[in-house]
Symmetry: C2
Subunit: 288 residues, 2 copies
């Protein structure tokens, strides 16, 4: 079974079980938040690492990947709320609060956070000794002091260091994706966090670049929400060319950090292939 099929099946099983007997509006809001998905980049990364480490408990791997994605979806639902980005659309359809109202968006995000931990616990029935490490790995990436919730909260502070902000806002869940993939397969998660953290930072820098120059033809004439909302951004800080250089350095560091493992070569190749999707090719060439 390919990675995406495993992920979609695990997500469908988790959401379907949770929705039975649930208030219909809440169930619909949660389904809307999770399906259809985006690129599922974090859970695919989780699966890739687990496979590189032997993937000896596939159902636990699937649960870990699903938990990571559920938490990502929760963060999108809450970040889209009127008090944050007030985003009208997400993944090509109305955001959850536009489709279901603000109350079900708040509750839907809360329910998704809880569902993530529940999914992980159910999945660990096949290897209960791996549960504590997995849970702490995932919880740290979401909560205080340096998970994605903290990353979002840095936006409420008057001063923040860019690397710390990116590390928490995006890097944390990426780091959890790789560490949880390793932990699900019985490997040491501490050796695998850096890979995810670097990829997460790279992803965020790519996002900043896209925000500043959505159309490569507009290079050097940055427009976008980071500027409009006066948000910290690698593109604002270093310029487009500097940001692209930073991105390439982060990707190289990511690949270099992969510890020895049975499937290391395949993982390296898949990450390099995947990372080509971070940026429009035109942009990379133009900046080179």
């Amino acid at each position: 079974m390919d990675a995406l099929t495993r992920i979609e099946q695990a997500l469908t099983a988790a959401v379907t079980a949770a929705a039975a007997g649930c208030p219909p509006g809440l169930a619909a809001a949660v389904r809307h938040a999770v399906f259809p998905g985006g690129a599922r980049i974090r859970p695919r990364l989780c699966l890739s690492v687990a496979l590189a480490c032997g993937d000896d408990r596939p159902s636990l791997t699937d649960a870990a990947a699903a938990a990571i994605e559920l938490l990502h979806c929760a963060s999108l639902v809450h970040d889209d709320l009127p008090c944050f980005d007030d985003a009208a659309f997400r993944r090509g359809k109305p955001s959850v609060h536009r489709a279901f109202g603000e109350r079900l968006a708040v509750l839907g995000g809360d329910a998704l956070i809880v569902l993530a931990f529940e999914t992980l616990t159910h999945g660990a029935a096949v290897a209960p000794d791996r549960l504590p490490t997995l849970l702490l790995t995932v919880a740290r990436s979401v909560g205080m002091p340096s998970g994605i919730v903290a990353g979002q909260a840095w936006e409420c502070e008057s001063s923040v260091e860019l690397t710390e902000y990116h590390r928490a806002k995006t890097g944390a869940l990426f780091a959890a994706a790789t560490a949880a993939g390793a932990a699900a397969a019985g490997a040491d998660p501490a050796l695998w966090g850096e890979l995810g953290a670097r990829l997460g930072e790279a992803y965020q820098v790519a996002d900043d670049i896209r925000d500043a120059a959505a159309d490569p033809a507009e290079l050097g004439k940055p427009v976008g929400r980071d500027f409009a909302l006066d948000r910290r951004s690698a593109a604002r800080e270093f310029g487009i060319a500097g940001a692209v250089q930073r991105l390439e350095r982060l990707l190289a560091e990511a690949v270099d950090s992969i510890p020895p493992c049975p499937g290391g070569a395949a993982l390296r190749a898949s990450i390099m292939a995947e990372s080509q999707r971070f940026l429009p090719k035109g942009l990379v060439r133009a900046a080179a």
Copy 2:
């Protein structure tokens, strides 16, 4: 050490550890949400049940009690948001969104949910075999399909059965408090959920009665938010006297449900004493 001291120490340890290195605003919002507390009725119930069951892993009991209270605090912060109750005050001081803004109220609630599961996992280091049951017990009481988040979501539906609504909105976390107290002490949580569920329903009925007749002298002339917001309420459904009868029946059922255990008699006595605080005595006498 008395119960309240154990609870406050466990909460302080959890919040202090999480706040180190956290964005200052988020740390302050979370502290504001947790300290000073209300009656801490749920974690005290959790401790009472653990003690009745032998309390052989006190640090795990403390973690379970703290997790229950952190989740309760999270639900208060999110329920107070402008899109729900828009409450200006909570526990005698400004609500979190009034004091710190809506963004930190959303994020603070999210962080508290995560911290609850993290606290539970740390606490279970002394008895890892009890972690899966504890986690599922607690998660079910908060999430879909019938935890407090679902209870709140029933308010967004056009039709809802009162018992189901109360069971999810308040009963769920009370049921988790007793079940988690048992599970923390190595007892069977399935035998202990009913006690908490009945007490939670009783507590909610008492709350409905207080809302409808805050001053006993006004009995029979109900005023309050449930009426103003057209919310389901036992006082609206059955009248004040009927609601008081229902409350007394629920308390009797609660005490009757206590399974055989080393400290059963003491637990029974403490619950009867505690439940006297549910209602102003004048009201009970007037309705009798």
